[in-house]
């Protein structure tokens, strides 16, 4: 009994202790919901951080390499969509989005038009990339998407010299679908795959430059919870009920007829 009491006290205190820590984690160092980013970085180091579901715009020039970064957590399947508004007159141009993970490894797109060629004088070009589902853990030799920062690079891969430097506008948005328990794998990373996570400056230096500082809205998932718990528990309950049913079936109803009354 004492152990139970100690355990519940411990859990309560832990809840209280973890509360503020979780609350501290949520405010992000840069933009909030209201002010959508209106610029883009030009390298991995200077990538503009965006939240998922936050539309980001940026004006640039044809030939620029525009970078954004966003956080993606376990069980999410992110979709990156980009629209490039091209100048009034231009030759045929090929545009491309590439997505890289926190280790700057290129991530494959399951589907979506990652590369598209705009005909001469076309007003805009739309690109999309649907990533694989983010897993909580993978072998170090694998290239699976892991929770952490993801980079989006938007650029023109095929462009005539005369078109270099012409002004273009771009809209980028990242949304993700929650895949849920079917993607819940065992194991977890000690830290999400956020570049510079080992050299993160403390709370006193909130304005200090970081490689990536944004977290998902509710902080990084611990990876402990998945709907597999519900399925397994429900299975257990149903098995118990079926067991009772099976038992009752062999016993029949009421008193067996051949047992003489006492």
């Amino acid at each position: 009994m004492r152990a139970v009491r100690a355990l519940s006290a411990a859990l309560l205190t832990l809840g209280v202790a973890a509360g503020p820590a979780a609350a501290d984690a949520s405010p992000s160092p840069s933009q909030d919901e209201a002010s959508a980013p209106t610029r883009a970085g030009t390298s991995f180091r200077t990538a503009t951080e965006i939240e998922q579901g936050q539309p980001a715009t940026a004006s640039g020039s044809t030939g620029d390499y525009l970078y954004w970064s966003f956080p993606a957590d376990t069980g999410q399947r992110p979709t990156v969509e980009a629209t490039v508004k091209l100048p009034e007159s231009h030759a045929s141009q090929t545009w491309q989005i590439d997505v890289y993970d926190g280790l700057r490894r290129r991530q494959a797109c399951q589907y979506g038009a990652q590369t598209r060629t705009a005909a001469a004088d076309a007003p805009s070009v739309k690109l999309a990339c649907v990533l694989r589902t983010v897993r909580a853990w993978s072998e170090p030799w694998a290239n699976d998407p892991l929770p952490g920062t993801y980079y989006v690079r938007l650029t023109a891969t095929g462009v005539a010299t005369a078109d270099l430097g012409l002004p273009v506008g771009s809209d980028v948005r990242v949304d993700s679908r929650d895949i849920g328990g079917s993607a819940a794998v065992d194991g977890s990373l000690a830290e999400p795959l956020v570049p510079g996570v080992a050299t993160k400056p403390g709370q006193e230096r909130e304005d200090a430059a970081v490689l990536a500082g944004l977290e998902p809205e509710d902080g990084w998932a611990s990876g402990r919870w998945s709907d597999r718990w519900v399925w397994t528990a429900a299975g257990g309950i149903m098995a118990a009920l079926a067991g009772v049913g099976g038992y009752a079936l062999t016993r029949g109803t009421g008193r067996p007829s051949r047992v003489p009354p006492a």
Binding site: R2, A3, A6, A10, T13, A17, R39, T42, S43, R45, T46, S59, D101, L103, R104, R105, W137, G158, T161, A162, L164, G165, L166, G181, S182, A184, G187, L189, A190, E191, P195, A198, T199, K200, P201, G202, Q203, E204, R205, A208, A209, V210, L211, G223, S226, R228, W231, T232, A234, G235, G236, M238, A239, A240, L241, A242, G243, G246, T250, R251
Partner: protein, 421 residues
């Protein structure tokens, strides 16, 4: 009872450890250095004779540039140290040698006095040659010192008239100094040749090139570039990799830069203790014309030369950078003072220089190293080995039912046996 007490004590201990763990990170970083140098921007403006052309919204290029500068000076963020340099502003003559040295500091890089800077800009009249290369060299000198970000914004309307000094080479050499300088270029009503030259300069330093045909485009772009300089950015530390694992520099968690020539292999060392994970990523930037078809390979090898894990990437076509990364979690050791393992990171790339392109200095390389706690091992493919789905439910129900039936039969049989006895 004793076990229960132990359990309770253990829980309390665990709780204490967790609370300490939660409280600790905030205090741990207190000793870190604070503050970063002020970002510095040098605006380099072409004041050559061709700036007289009246083709920007019906006004002369010079007038457009002046107006843009006035607006930019008004909008410059407080913390940015801004300077202005001119090229071709003073020597109107025909002597190429003198004309190609004509670059002057109009307003020194430092805390900005808006009125003074504006007055200086107002005095400019289009005059001489277009010595882009020498101006860039001098501008890099203007920005020397400090550890903030550095940016040159070059505004020109004609290609360099001072061959053989190729401004593109100059830009690459400036970048190779490793002072973290970016050159952004703007071409006023550019020709194809100017576009090529200015985008070459920009690409050599990881900057951007914009062609400008309207007044508002010029103002917006320069403003944007000055704002970008004000963004705090992590400055990488310059390092120099060795050509063998032994003698390679030992890196801690952080961001590093280096230069790697074509066909070269670079080694770095990272110490990883048992129970830690090494995360490393590398990007090699193509700062000059390279052939299509390139790749990068990073291997983590033991000091004996055995490969542990590798990251590789390949690509073709136009690119600014090719990058890859790797993770190496080192298993927990039973021995508490097990020594750290020196893991060697070997980096090589397969870029090849386009014909006629200089191969020195090497391509810029950026390396991130993070050493964090190792991940928990996965004992099963599914989370905690839990099940999911209708097949699982079916199997569990069927098993439960069969178990119930068997149990029922058994107990019936037992009662029957008991009754007969």
């Amino acid at each position: 009872m004793i076990t229960r007490k132990r359990l309770a004590a253990g829980v309390c201990g665990l709780l204490a450890a967790l609370t300490a763990g939660l409280a600790f990170p905030a205090g741990a970083a207190a000793g870190e250095p604070t503050g970063q140098g002020a970002p510095k921007v040098d605006l380099v403006l072409d004041v050559s004779g061709s700036m007289r052309a009246r083709d920007i919204d019906g006004r002369s290029r010079m007038a457009a540039a002046k107006q843009a500068f006035n607006e930019v000076l008004d909008a410059t963020p407080e913390e940015v140290e801004l300077g202005i340099r001119t090229l071709g502003a003073n020597y109107p003559g025909d002597d190429r040698k003198t004309g190609c040295k004509d670059t002057a500091q109009l307003y020194p890089v430092g805390p900005l006095d808006r009125t003074e800077a504006k007055t200086a800009v107002a005095t400019l009249t289009p005059t001489g040659w277009t010595p882009i290369g020498p101006a860039l060299l001098k501008a890099a000198g203007d920005l020397d010192g400090g550890d903030g970000s550095k940016r040159i914004v070059l505004i020109s309307d004609g290609e360099d008239t001072c061959a053989p000094l190729d401004p593109c080479e100059v830009a690459r050499e400036i970048a190779a100094k490793g002072i973290g300088l970016t050159i952004d270029t703007l071409g006023l009503v550019p020709t194809a040749k100017l576009s090529r030259q200015l985008s070459c300069i920009a690409e050599a330093t990881g900057g951007t090139y914009t062609s400008v045909e309207h007044q508002d485009e010029l103002t917006d772009r320069v403003n944007q570039l000055v704002d970008r300089a004000a963004d705090p950015v992590v400055t990488p530390v310059a390092t120099e990799g060795a050509d063998r694992c032994a003698g390679a520099p030992t890196l801690k968690s952080g961001l590093y830069t280096d230069r790697e020539e074509f066909g070269q292999q670079r080694f770095y060392r990272v110490d990883v203790r048992p129970g830690q994970e090494l995360r490393a990523s590398v990007s090699v930037a193509a700062d000059r014309a390279v052939n299509p078809g390139y790749g990068v390979l990073m291997r983590a090898v033991t000091s004996k030369g055995r490969e542990i894990v590798r990251g590789e990437a390949a690509g073709n076509g136009r690119t600014d950078v090719i990058s890859t990364g790797l993770r190496y979690p080192k298993a927990e050791s039973d021995d508490e003072d097990a020594p750290a393992e020196a893991v060697c990171l070997s980096v090589s790339h397969s870029f090849s220089a386009a014909p006629g392109v200089k191969t020195t200095p090497g391509l810029p390389l950026e390396l991130t190293v993070d050493v964090v706690d190792a991940p928990s091992r996965a004992g099963d493919v599914a989370a905690f080995g839990l099940g999911r789905g209708w097949w699982l439910l079916g199997v569990l129900i069927l098993t439960g039912f069969l178990a119930g039936v068997v149990w029922g039969w058994l107990s019936r049989w037992r009662i029957a046996v008991w009754r007969t006895n």
